[in-house]
């Protein structure tokens, strides 16, 4: 047993950091037991790597048109064939990973903290604040997500940024719900009472003591939600309301291949496969994380 393992698995951690790292190590060991979750992890990490090194991986410029070579079937030169403007589909899918990641990250960055704060505040303060905020989430949950996002994009105008805003606007209520449920359990814990007796303000309690405790279930929720976000974004792109051409967005690429679906099947098939694989990766990882992180 190396020093590191001993440091991580000790029963008596000497510092807060050691305890935290130790817990992360035990969770990783548990996650490793689940082959499906590891498969998901590999897919997600691959997505990150492909997005990061897109110029090295893609053999062609994703925007370069070559009208002599339009609608070529998959070959050793163009792995996934070419589209109606002679662009290499494989390269476009590789660059599309960046677009997907961009959407997902922006939505998560904006939605996670917002939902967390609303849920924790609602759960901790209770009373009319709770009732008002939860009614608000009810209203948003009463809409099917895609339809509401559609209506928002209709008002804002099509575009990648507006699609992100629309998705974020429709995605926060479940996060608030999860955070609130966690907070309701935590708020009556003894350590919260102790902090309160020390004279901490409500803000301090919510931000420093309740929010960190809600994080694990929120991380799980986020990972499971990623697939939904990707599918919604692809749906908006497919309808022509998300990323605009010539940006290589997977949903828009499927839409572009729609006219040729019966003759040149590869144009619409491969972007769809890419969406499937990535969404499946996030779902598998989220499932595994749920088992590991909150065993409830």
């Amino acid at each position: 047993m190396s020093n590191w393992t001993a440091y991580l698995t000790t029963d008596a951690p000497a510092s807060r950091r050691q305890a935290r790292l130790g817990q992360a190590w035990r969770q990783w060991l548990a996650l490793k037991q689940n082959p499906l979750a590891i498969a998901g992890l590999i897919i997600v990490v691959s997505l990150l790597l492909i997005a990061a090194f897109a110029p090295l991986i893609a053999p062609f410029d994703p925007l370069a048109q070559n009208l002599d070579r339009r609608l070529m079937p998959p070959s050793t030169l163009n792995f996934f064939g070419t589209d109606s403007l002679g662009r290499d589909i494989f390269s476009r899918i590789v660059y599309g990973a960046r677009v997907t990641l961009f959407i997902v990250l922006l939505v998560v960055i904006s939605v996670g903290p917002l939902g967390l704060l609303i849920g924790a505040t609602s759960g901790y303060l209770g009373g009319w604040v709770d009732r008002a905020l939860m009614r608000l989430t009810d209203v948003f949950l009463a809409f099917p997500r895609l339809v509401l996002a559609l209506a928002f994009v209709a008002a804002l105008g099509p575009g990648l940024e507006n699609a992100v805003i629309a998705i974020a606007f429709t995605a926060w209520p479940p996060y608030a719900r999860v955070a609130r449920a966690e907070t309701l359990v935590i708020r009556n814990a003894d350590y919260i009472a102790a902090v309160r007796l020390q004279g901490a303000s409500s803000w301090r309690i919510v931000l420093r003591h309740i929010v960190p405790m809600c994080l694990p279930s929120l991380i799980v929720r986020t990972t499971l939600d990623m697939a939904g976000i990707i599918l919604t974004a692809a749906g908006l792109g497919f309808l022509g309301l998300g990323a605009q051409p010539p940006m290589p967005e997977w949903g828009a690429m499927i839409s572009a291949g729609r006219e040729q679906i019966f003759d040149q099947w590869w144009v619409a098939t491969f972007p769809g496969l890419a969406i499937c694989v990535v969404a499946l990766g996030f779902n598998l990882l989220g499932d595994g994380l749920r088992d590991v992180m909150d065993a409830k």
Partner: protein, 359 residues
């Protein structure tokens, strides 16, 4: 599922009386539900109002389109009440919605409400068949997954569930068309019915299968069905994933109950225990799940209808979107939202009726 207490451990507090006490309790419940629905509806209106009037830079242009003449523009501006304060505009908007006035569509030059009445049956037909597909395959799959927990039926159910949550529905529809229509020729292509049969069926209910069956046009009926199979299977994939997953978790809870042990001890056959006793209790929460998945299919129908050129509410909304027809989009959104709320309420009430513990 949070309610781990089975039917054996009945409620200790709720008085099992009948008569006036029970009636007032129902009355209270109903009024609480209705208040919730009223508040949610109000919020729904507030959001659509926000989208219609506050977010766009020029709400008038959003309604009349870019090429409107100045007098049309001014008339629309007055009709929207944009010269009045925001709260008055909102009151006007709510009043109009409640009298069934959702504005006029630019695209069809018809009142949005009559457009929606015309296209809605097509969506209803699709969503109903999709849900039927989900129930027919989802419940048995979920039951088998629960009974053979950890074995291959369970893995299969898990795979299908993950698949259903990871696949873009519009892509699945395209692939279905490619395989079953273009390559194999097993089903008919996009649209509700082939042009050859179009004039045989008079629209009475708007649900083409019903109309054709009522009028005895069986050729048209089979043609319409072959158009319907693929889109409803694609939609049903979604509710199948959801229903089978929930069935599995409800059944696992039920199979751990003492009445199941009692039934087995009595010597009842395993099949009878599972399908007659456990499943029957699992069906109580499942009614809610099925109702919710039905509402969710309305959402799935937006993309599916686009793929299959299905003249329903979803395609109406997307067509409106692509033609900057704001009234059509928001009218459709409002109707979908209202149906969602209605189905939720219905599912709640259904759950209470079927579950004696909540009475």
């Amino acid at each position: 599922m949070a309610s781990s207490s089975g039917p054996m451990t009945g409620p200790a507090t709720a008085p099992s009386g009948s008569g006036p006490g029970r009636l007032t309790r129902w009355g209270k419940l109903l009024s609480r539900e209705l208040t919730t629905v009223a508040i949610t509806m109000f919020g729904l209106l507030a959001i659509t109002f926000l989208i219609a009037r506050v977010i766009p830079i020029d709400p008038v242009l959003a309604v009349v389109g870019d090429n409107a003449r100045p007098d049309v523009y001014d008339a629309a501006r007055l009709a929207l009440g944009l010269d009045k304060p925001l709260w008055q505009q909102f009151a006007m908007y709510v009043g109009k919605v409640f009298t069934g006035d959702l504005g006029t569509s630019i695209l069809t030059a018809q009142p949005v409400i009559s457009d929606i009445k015309r296209v809605f049956p097509a969506t209803l037909e699709l969503a109903t068949l999709g849900t039927l597909v989900g129930i027919t395959f989802g419940i048995p799959l979920g039951v088998l997954a629960a009974v053979y927990q950890g074995r291959w039926p369970d893995q299969l159910a898990r795979f299908i569930g993950l698949f259903g949550y990871s696949i873009p529905i519009f892509w699945l529809g395209l692939m279905g068309l490619l395989l079953f229509y273009a390559k194999l020729g097993w089903v008919s292509g996009p649209g509700r019915i082939s042009i050859a049969y179009q004039d045989f069926v008079m629209p009475v209910t708007g649900v083409i299968l019903l109309d054709a069956a009522m009028q005895g046009e069986w050729d048209a009926f089979w043609n319409a069905l072959s158009h319907l199979v693929l889109p409803s299977a694609v939609l049903g994939m979604f509710s199948l994933a959801y229903i089978s997953r929930m069935t599995r978790s409800f059944m696992i809870t039920e199979l751990q109950q003492q009445y199941v042990i009692a039934a087995r001890v009595k010597g009842m056959s395993e099949a009878r225990v599972i399908w007659r006793h456990a499943l029957r209790n699992a069906l109580v929460p499942l009614t809610t799940v099925i109702a919710l998945s039905y509402a969710n299919l309305l959402e799935g129908s937006v993309l599916t209808e686009t793929i299959f050129a299905w003249p329903g509410l979803g395609r109406y909304i997307t067509n409106g979107l692509l033609n900057a027809d704001m009234n059509a989009v928001l009218g459709g959104t409002l109707v979908v939202g209202a149906i969602f709320i209605g189905v939720n309420l219905f599912a709640d009430i259904l759950g209470r009726i079927f579950d004696p513990r909540t009475r």
